[in-house]
């Protein structure tokens, strides 16, 4: 790739001049250069720090020349933002482009936006930098990648993750804004030189430089070549918020028009000459392999090209998907068995309970001394909570298209990690990475599922063995049963209260240590706390699920704190307020949600409100829900949502993310449950893995608060608070505390 080569050369020069060793300096190198076609390209190359041993091991080989974001300016003044993140509905192409255009004073209406290729230059360096500086909370799957566990990519930074609500927070501020500001400065200096005026006498707007005193103006494109000869400022000055014209305004999403007329290409829409269709069935009990296969009937079916025993799954290649699926369904297949092959959901939770009883405990969070703190307590409260496995249930079933031949592989798919997927395919196909291309597409939902490349690996393998370009499409059943699930978790909680009902101690122990670590911590001012975790090995595949560990811990913590409030005879809102007195951001968010949700105002018979507040990915979200129990089961009538992400780059996009996160979490709270029968996932499709529908969807009102805090995430923080808010509301109507999700089939109706 010519662009990449150019860039590396430029930045290497930079590196020789720049400061060398030592601590992380919290700044990036900026590289600028002219590429084929006369376009100025500016990227930000972040210097990796060496403060973290884990990280240093993985970045050492890669030097200091990873470019993280590019803007391209051609002489005809076309400005192209190159976005290193996948679009799965979160509006990231729009938000990141706006951050670049804002600092650059680029003409928003004329901006071109493309998604970056799966190249090393687009690895998530801003994200890793935040990790290296210790200034951020990095989600678990990032660690997995760093450790090579997920993709087996030891000593490489093959990470181009869209997840962890990181894109705006890290790529946006760390790369796009910086690149935009540096580019603007370069162009102004080029103009100043050309016109022989001072840089200070210039202004910029809509991709133009102006010198008002002499009434001169020029396009950015006309200065691109000259700018490419200049050394960029390594620390460009960023605008202050008050000067923003794009950031903070509701921007129509650039990906939406194609999504209303059928022209948006998702992975499943890939079209490759000579393409055949495939579908697969993996061992229903994860980790087992094909023991026996009788494919005679299937091979004879019309349109069927070949049937393959792929070790841990079987695949059928045919002229069309339907033919492949019919043939797959007719296969007679046995898989190997293990101890896990008889495991039931009850046994699974019994194992968890035993782990909590006797397993080795690791302390996650600690303050004071819970034993001493509990002395003289007026009351002790204990409770056990649990949540089940959850599937992601992306609307677009897993799929990928691959053409593996002649020592090379081409892959087309939607993925939350294009570079990692490309590298994983290279490794599996025993090819050099240079001989593997990956073309990304829109994702029909990601939610963490598409961070794992299993489906692309299968497509590549089936293309290789069949000798055809192959579009692999998983059935909905396969998508449901071969997910990487939100872990099932059992947690035990214990707290002691003083005579005023305020907590003296908080203790908890649960199974499954995931990420981020702070998810299990408590934000409330409680002098003595001990939060511990035990191991709980599972043969069922686990993975990041929207908001990762915050889903379970948000529910546990915000339900149990409500139990304490109730035991203290206090209002849940006021109780939280008292325990957050030293955290003004939390108080503001909580108050805003209470006001928006009309906390304390009368409601009709059979209805009540519930409240919760959770910080995740540096965004604080409080929700007040109104639940109607008059029909027997919980029906959420209204959700008031207040959020403080520091600053919302695209407020309408942020609001959409809150709405989406709430419905996603509400679906889980009411219906979401993957169970095991005989070690296999029992659910298969939307009839038994139900998704909230239009007729059950509450009205949602959102208020976005701005604060001085660093930018928080948007894609995930709406999800954690909803389950406990609903559970607390149900208690406030029925007096029944919900300590196990989902809420259906809990006999709630009988109590009301």
């Amino acid at each position: 790739m010519a662009d990449a080569t150019e860039k590396k050369i430029k930045v290497k020069k930079e590196k020789e001049k720049g400061p060398r060793k030592g601590r992380w300096t919290r700044r990036g190198f900026i590289g600028a250069g002219l590429v084929a076609g006369g376009a100025l390209v500016v990227g930000v190359a972040i210097r990796p720090g060496d403060r973290t041993d884990t990280l240093a091991e993985y970045v050492a080989g890669d030097g200091e020349h990873l470019l993280t974001a590019w803007v391209k300016i051609s002489e005809d003044n076309t400005i192209t933002a190159i976005i290193p993140h996948g679009e799965m509905g979160q509006g990231i192409h729009t938000a990141l482009s706006a951050m670049l255009a804002e600092e650059m004073d680029a003409d928003w209406d004329a901006l071109d936006i493309i998604e970056a290729p799966a190249e090393k230059d687009y690895a998530n360096f801003p994200l890793v930098r935040e990790f290296a500086t210790g200034g951020a909370k990095v989600p678990g799957f990032v660690f997995d990648t760093l450790n090579g566990a997920m993709l087996g990519l030891a000593k490489k930074m093959d990470m181009q993750i869209t997840g962890g609500s990181t894109s705006v927070r890290f790529t946006g501020t760390g790369a796009m804004q910086t690149a935009g500001a540096a580019t603007r400065e370069l162009l102004m200096r080029a103009a100043a030189k050309d016109w022989d005026v001072s840089v200070d006498s210039l202004r910029t707007a809509k991709s133009m430089v102006y010198h008002d005193a002499s009434n001169r103006s020029g396009t950015y494109g006309s200065f691109a070549a000259a700018a490419s000869e200049m050394k960029p400022n390594l620390q460009p000055k960023l605008k202050s918020r008050k000067d923003y014209t794009l950031m903070g305004s509701p921007l129509p999403r650039v990906d939406i028009p194609a999504k209303v007329d059928g022209t948006a290409d998702f992975g499943i829409d890939a079209k490759v000459d000579g393409m055949k269709y495939a579908t697969v069935m993996a061992s229903p009990v994860h980790g087992q392999t094909v023991a026996r296969i009788d494919a005679k009937d299937a091979e004879a079916m019309p349109g069927v090209i070949s049937v393959h025993n792929m070790g841990d799954y079987v695949g059928v290649v045919a002229d069309g998907y339907w033919q492949a699926k019919q043939a797959l369904d007719s296969l007679d297949v046995d898989f190997t068995t293990s101890d896990a092959s008889s495991l039931s959901q009850e046994q699974l939770f019994a194992q968890y309970a035993e782990s909590l009883d006797t397993g080795k405990r690791k302390t996650m969070h600690k303050a004071g001394n819970v034993a001493k703190g509990a002395e003289g307590a007026a009351k002790t409260i204990e409770a056990e909570y649990s949540v089940p496995f959850l599937a992601h249930a992306c609307m677009e079933p897993m799929n990928a298209t691959a053409w593996v031949r002649d020592g090379k592989a081409d892959i087309w798919c939607g993925t939350q990690n294009p570079l990692g997927t490309r590298m994983a395919v290279a490794k599996a196909m025993e090819l050099d990475a240079e001989n593997v291309t990956l073309t990304t597409a829109f994702m029909g939902g990601g939610f963490g599922r598409r961070a794992t490349p299993d489906y692309a690996l299968q497509a590549a393998a089936l293309s290789k063995v069949s000798g055809h370009p192959v579009k692999l499409i998983w059935s909905r059943e396969e998508t449901t049963q071969q997910d990487h699930y939100r872990p099932a978790v059992l947690g035990r909680f214990k707290a002691s209260l003083d005579a005023d009902g305020m907590p003296l101690t908080w203790e908890s122990v649960f199974n499954h240590e995931g990420e981020p670590k702070e998810a299990s911590d408590i934000v409330y001012a409680i002098p003595n706390k001990l939060v511990q975790v035990v191991d709980s090995p599972s043969h069922t595949r686990l993975g990041p699920w929207r908001s990762v560990d915050h889903t379970q811990h948000g529910y546990f913590t915000e339900s149990f704190i409500e139990e304490l409030a109730h035991a203290a005879g206090k209002d849940g809102y006021e109780y939280r307020r008292a325990l957050l007195a030293d955290k003004p951001r939390f108080i503001k968010v909580l108050d805003a949600a209470a006001k928006l949700g009309k906390w304390g105002e009368p409601l009709p018979e059979g209805q009540a409100r519930g409240i919760s507040i959770v910080e995740s990915f540096m965004t604080i979200v409080a929700q007040v829900v109104t639940v109607d129990m008059s029909g027997g089961d919980p029906r959420v009538v209204h959700v008031a949502c207040a959020a403080d992400p520091g600053f919302a780059v695209n407020p309408d996009g942020f609001e959409a993310q809150m709405q989406s996160g709430i419905i996603y979490g509400l679906t889980a709270a009411l219906y979401g449950e993957i169970t095991l029968e005989g070690g296999a996932v029992a659910q298969s499709n939307f009839h038994d893995y139900e998704i909230l529908r239009m007729d059950e969807a509450p009205k949602i009102d959102t208020i976005i608060l701005t604060s001085d805090a660093r930018l928080g995430g948007g894609g995930e923080p709406g999800t954690p608070p909803i389950a406990p808010a609903v559970a607390n509301a149900v208690f406030n109507v029925t007096g029944k505390r919900i300590r196990k999700l989902p809420m259906r089939d809990l006999g709630l109706g009988a109590a009301s």
């Binding site: 059928g262 609307m395 989406s660 998704i691």
Partner: protein
């Protein structure tokens, strides 16, 4: 060989007549705007119109559409090429997130408004409950349908 009209265009499809309409259209005509979601008519992502009626094309054999008019998302725009009022409203309310279910949502909403030009919330809930949006944009879909209803009333009288 099955003959039918797709988006007004006479078309012959040389596939097994038992093939679901969804796969026949997606794989034989290259019109991939209609999506596969569940395969059992539970999610609505595959909604097309057959003689104006919304059907779940994943569970409708091609043979059932023989000789009939099939309309997909690619054929729903106005005759002059401008977007349908429902599509316009979808953009105005910034409805799609991932967008995968939206072809089906739009096709279903168009059918709803044809039968019920001024739908109430209950009408919308009932008509749209068969279409899952995993990104949870139900609030926006509801609002967009009402906007489209108003626009259609103004335009069509």
């Amino acid at each position: 060989m099955v003959q039918l009209k797709i988006n007004g265009k006479p078309t012959q499809l040389d596939v097994d007549p038992n093939t679901p309409l969804l796969w026949a259209v997606r794989e034989q005509t290259g019109l991939t705007g209609t999506k596969f979601g569940c395969g059992i008519a539970m999610c609505g992502a595959c909604t097309m119109h057959v003689d104006g009626q919304p059907v779940r094309s994943c569970s409708t054999p091609l043979s059932e559409a023989e000789g009939l008019d099939v309309t997909t998302i690619e054929g729903i725009a106005n005759a002059d090429g401008t977007l349908h009022a429902v599509q316009e409203a979808w953009i105005e309310h910034q409805v799609p997130q991932c967008g995968y279910c939206q072809s089906g949502q739009i096709m279903n909403a168009v059918a709803l408004l044809r039968d019920t030009p001024n739908p109430s919330d209950d009408d919308i809930n009932e008509a749209m409950a068969g279409n899952i949006c995993r990104c949870g944009m139900y609030d926006r879909i509801r609002a967009a349908i009402k906007t489209a209803a108003k626009a259609s009333t103004v335009m069509g009288g």
